[in-house]
C-alpha cells in the first residue's frame, strides 16, 4: 500500500527522523494561514501517490503569502502529470506546506526487501535529488549498499560505514548513521516493503533532514497495524479497482478490449498472454481467487460489462476450490440482471465441470463455450475481429 508524503513524514516524526515543520492544506486559505504560521519561505507540495512532482509543477518555493496563494490556487484541483503518473495524471486534492530548508548537499537513501539476497538492503548515494533510477542504470557503483542479516538486524557499524562511504565528515556521518538506524526501526516495526528519501538533505549545519518521504507498506502486514490501514487514499486508485477490492476481487484496469475473468493470478496472467498471442489485447487483469462465491462472480462480470472499452468477455476458470457450478451460477445471475451486449466466451474445466456447463447451456443465454484454451483463443480473436 502506498501512502502520501505527509503521512510518511508524520511516521518519521514519531521515530525521531528529522523533517521540516509542516502542515497540510486542502483550501487556498488554509495554505496561506499554514504558511503564515510557519514563516517564510515555504515549499508548497502537491500530495499525490507518484514521484517526479517537481517536473509537473507540483512543487513550488514561495517567499510570501501572495506567492503561496498563487501556487495553491494553481495546484489545488489541477491534474498533475509526472513521469510516474502516466498520461492521465492525478488530481491534486491536498497540499503540504513545509518550511523551506537550508540545503548544503542532497543525498539519496533507500531501503527495500531484496529478494535476491532474501534480506532488507539499505541503499545510499551521493547523487540525490535527481533520477536515481537512471543513475542506478548508468552507474551502478554510485549506489552504495548494506545488506541486513535478518537475525542480527541493521548493526550500528553498518549504518556508520554506509554514511562514511558517502564521503561525509565524521560529525555528519554520525548524524546520517543515526538517521538510517531510525528509519530501519520504522521500516521493520511498521512492516514496510520500500522506503525512499530523495533527497536526504544535509543542512548547512551538517545535519540530515528528510526533504521527501516515500513509504510503501506491506499489504500482508496491515493486520497488525490497524492505524496504518486508515492511511489508504481511495482517490489515488482506479474507481473500478476500488469497487473490486471491496468484494475481494483482484482487478487491474489495462488498455485493451477483451475483458477477462479468471481464477488464480498465474492463470489470469497467462490468459492475458493468450489473448495477446492471438492478436487481441486484454482490457484488464481480474483474479476472482480460489474461494469465490456466486456473488463475487456476479460482481466481477458486472465490473467487466461496466467498462466501456470491453468489446468481448472471456471467462476462463479451472475449477479447484472454486467449483465450476458456482462459477456458472454467478455468470448466469449476472447475465440475467445486466444487459450484456458483447459476446461472452466461457471456458470451464476442473471440479464439477459438467454441472457448470449444464447450468450455462440451460440458462437460455447465448454464451460461447470452448473446451480448451486453444479453442477459446480462436473464439476470442474472432469476437473482437482479429485473425489469429
Amino acid at each position: 500500500m502506498r501512502i502520501h508524503e505527509y503521512q510518511a513524514k508524520q511516521l518519521f516524526a514519531k521515530y525521531g527522523i528529522p523533517v521540516s515543520a509542516s502542515n497540510t492544506a486542502s483550501t487556498v486559505d488554509e495554505a496561506v494561514s499554514s504558511a503564515n504560521a510557519l514563516g517564510y519561505p515555504v515549499v508548497v507540495k502537491a500530495q499525490i501517490h507518484a514521484g517526479g512532482r517537481g517536473k509537473g509543477g507540483g512543487i513550488e518555493l514561495a517567499k510570501s503569502a501572495s506567492q503561496v496563494r498563487d501556487a495553491a490556487t494553481r495546484m489545488l484541483g489541477m491534474t498533475l502529470v509526472t513521469p510516474q503518473t502516466g498520461s492521465g495524471g492525478r488530481i491534486v486534492r491536498l497540499l503540504l506546506i513545509e518550511s523551506a530548508a537550508d540545503i548544503a548537499q542532497e543525498l539519496y537513501l533507500g531501503m527495500a526487501i531484496d529478494r535476491g539476497n532474501r534480506a532488507i538492503t539499505v541503499m545510499a548515494s551521493r547523487a540525490g535529488g535527481v533520477d536515481i533510477e537512471e543513475t542506478a542504470l548508468r552507474d551502478p557503483d554510485a549506489i552504495l549498499k548494506e545488506i541486513v542479516d535478518p537475525f542480527l538486524g541493521l548493526r550500528p557499524f553498518q549504518a556508520f560505514r554506509l554514511a562514511h562511504r558517502l564521503g561525509l565528515p565524521i560529525k555528519t556521518a554520525r548524524g546520517v548513521a543515526k538517521f538510517i538506524q531510525s528509519l530501519y526501526r520504522l521500516f521493520c516495526e511498521q512492516d514496510c516493503v520500500l522506503a525512499e528519501i530523495n533527497p536526504l538533505a544535509i543542512t548547512s549545519d551538517g545535519d540530515p533532514l528528510a526533504i521527501d518521504a516515500k513509504l510503501n507498506l506491506d499489504d500482508n502486514g496491515l493486520f497488525r497495524h490497524p492505524d496504518l490501514r486508515d492511511l489508504r487514499d481511495l482517490n489515488e486508485e482506479d474507481p473500478l479497482e476500488v469497487e473490486a477490492t471491496a468484494v475481494n476481487l483482484n482487478y487491474i484496469k489495462l488498455d485493451g478490449t477483451v475483458g477477462c475473468l479468471v481464477n488464480g493470478a498465474g492463470l489470469a496472467m497467462a490468459t492475458m498472454d493468450l489473448i495477446k498471442h492471438v492478436g487481441a489485447s486484454p482490457a484488464n487483469f481480474l483474479d476472482v481467487g480460489g474461494g469465490a462465491t456466486a456473488e463475487m462472480i456476479e460482481k466481477g462480470v458486472q465490473i467487466l460489462i461496466g467498462d466501456p472499452d470491453v468489446k468481448a468477455v472471456f471467462i476462463n476458470i479451472f475449477g479447484g476450490i472454486l467449483r465450476c457450478d458456482v462459477l456458472a451460477e454467478g455468470v448466469v445471475a449476472a447475465a440475467k440482471k445486466l444487459s450484456i451486449l458483447v459476446p461472452v466466451i466461457v471456458r470451464l474445466e476442473g471440479t464439477n465441470v459438467e454441472q457448470g456447463r449444464r447450468i450455462l447451456n440451460e440458462s437460455g443465454l447465448s454464451f460461447r463455450t470452448a473446451s480448451s484454451l486453444g479453442e477459446a483463443a480462436v473464439m476470442v480473436a474472432a469476437a473482437v475481429g482479429v485473425t489469429s
Binding site: 500482508n220 493468450l274 480448451s372
Partner: protein
C-alpha cells in the same frame, strides 16, 4: 519414484479442526495420503474422522512419527506454525497460507536454511506425487502417474498444464507449487536439482511468472546441472510494470523481473519456452520425442 513426497510420507495437519483443514484433510486422505496427526492448540484429545488431534506439533510428532506437515492456519499465525513444525523435527513443511508478512519470512527462510528443513510455499496449492501422496489442495483427479516433473509459481495455471499433459496421455512424477510470494522456501533451482536426481522423472516443466529473478537463476542451474529436457512458460508477458499481478511476487519493478528477460535467459540455455499457455503440454510432448 518421485520427489519430496511419496508412499513413506506421514502427514501432520496444522489447523486440522478449521473448515479448510477438515475439508482438505478428507480430500487428501481419499486420495491416498497417509494422514497420521492433526494439531490445533486447545483441541488436543479430539479426533477428526479418526485422526488424533494434538495441542502441539512436538506431541504429534512424538506420538505418530509424522515427517511432513501441511499448514492451514490464518496469516497472523502461520509464521509461528512454520517455526513450530521446524522445531518439532518435521522434515518437509508445506505452507498454503496467503498473506504472511514478508518481513517475517526473511527470518524464517534463514532459520530453515540453517537447520536444513525444507519449506514449500507459502501461498502455494502444495505438491502431489500422483497415485502416491497429495499434500495440498489441488484436484487429485486431473493428475496421472508418470514421468514429468512440474515446478510452478502458480496454482490454477499448474492445473491447466497438468490437464494438458494428462489429456495427451503424459503422466507426472511430482508437481510442486513453490508459491507466489516474494520470499519462499524451495526454489526452482532446488527442485530442478531434485528432479535431475530422480530416475523416474524424464522431463521437467517450469512455470514461471514476472517479478524477481528466480527464473534467471533457474536458467543458470539448467545450463550447469540439468541433462533432462526442460520446457517453460512465463506468465505475465503482457503485464504492465509497477502493478502487482495478484501474487505478492508478481511485479515488474525498476525494469527487472520482465517476462522478456526470463524467456531470453531460459532460451539461451536451450529450454523450449511456450509462447502460448495453450501449447505447454504439446511442447513437452515434442521435447520427449526429440
Amino acid at each position: 519414484m518421485s520427489i519430496l513426497v511419496g508412499n513413506d510420507t506421514r502427514v501432520l495437519v496444522q489447523g486440522i479442526t478449521g473448515n479448510e483443514g477438515q475439508f482438505h484433510t478428507r480430500q487428501m486422505r481419499d486420495y491416498g495420503t497417509k494422514i497420521v496427526a492433526g494439531v490445533t492448540p486447545g483441541k488436543g484429545g479430539q479426533d477428526v474422522d479418526g485422526t488424533p488431534v494434538f495441542d502441539t506439533v512436538s506431541e504429534g510428532v512424538a506420538q505418530t512419527g509424522a515427517n511432513a506437515s501441511i499448514i492451514f492456519v490464518p496469516p497472523a499465525f502461520s509464521a509461528d506454525a512454520i517455526l513450530e513444525a521446524a522445531e518439532a523435527g518435521i522434515e518437509l513443511i508445506v505452507c498454503l497460507t496467503e498473506g504472511i508478512p514478508v518481513n517475517d519470512m526473511l527470518a524464517i527462510r534463514k532459520h530453515l536454511d540453517s537447520v536444513g528443513i525444507k519449506l514449500i510455499g507459502p501461498n502455494t496449492p502444495g505438491l502431489i506425487s500422483p497415485g502416491k501422496c497429495k499434500l495440498g489442495v489441488m484436484a487429485g483427479y486431473i493428475h496421472q502417474p508418470g514421468h514429468i516433473g512440474i515446478i510452478s509459481r502458480s496454482g490454477t495455471l499448474t492445473y491447466e498444464v497438468v490437464h494438458q499433459l494428462t489429456s495427451l496421455g503424459i503422466g507426472q512424477s511430482t508437481c510442486v507449487g513453490i508459491g507466489g510470494d516474494q520470499i519462499i522456501g524451495l526454489s526452482f533451482s532446488d527442485l530442478l536439482l531434485l528432479f535431475e536426481q530422480d530416475p523416474d522423472t524424464k522431463g521437467i516443466i517450469l512455470i514461471g511468472e514476472i517479478g524477481g529473478s528466480a527464473e534467471e537463476e533457474a536458467a543458470q542451474v539448467i545450463a550447469d546441472h540439468i541433462s533432462k529436457p526442460v520446457v517453460a512458460f512465463i506468465a505475465g508477458q503482457t503485464a504492465p510494470p509497477g502493478r502487482r499481478m495478484g501474487h505478492a511476487g508478481a511485479i515488474i519493478s525498476g525494469g527487472s523481473g520482465t517476462a522478456a528477460a526470463k524467456i531470453e535467459a531460459l532460451q539461451s540455455t536451450g529450454v523450449g519456452v511456450a509462447e502460448s499457455p495453450a501449447h505447454i503440454g504439446e511442447l513437452m510432448a515434442e521435447s520427449l520425442i526429440r
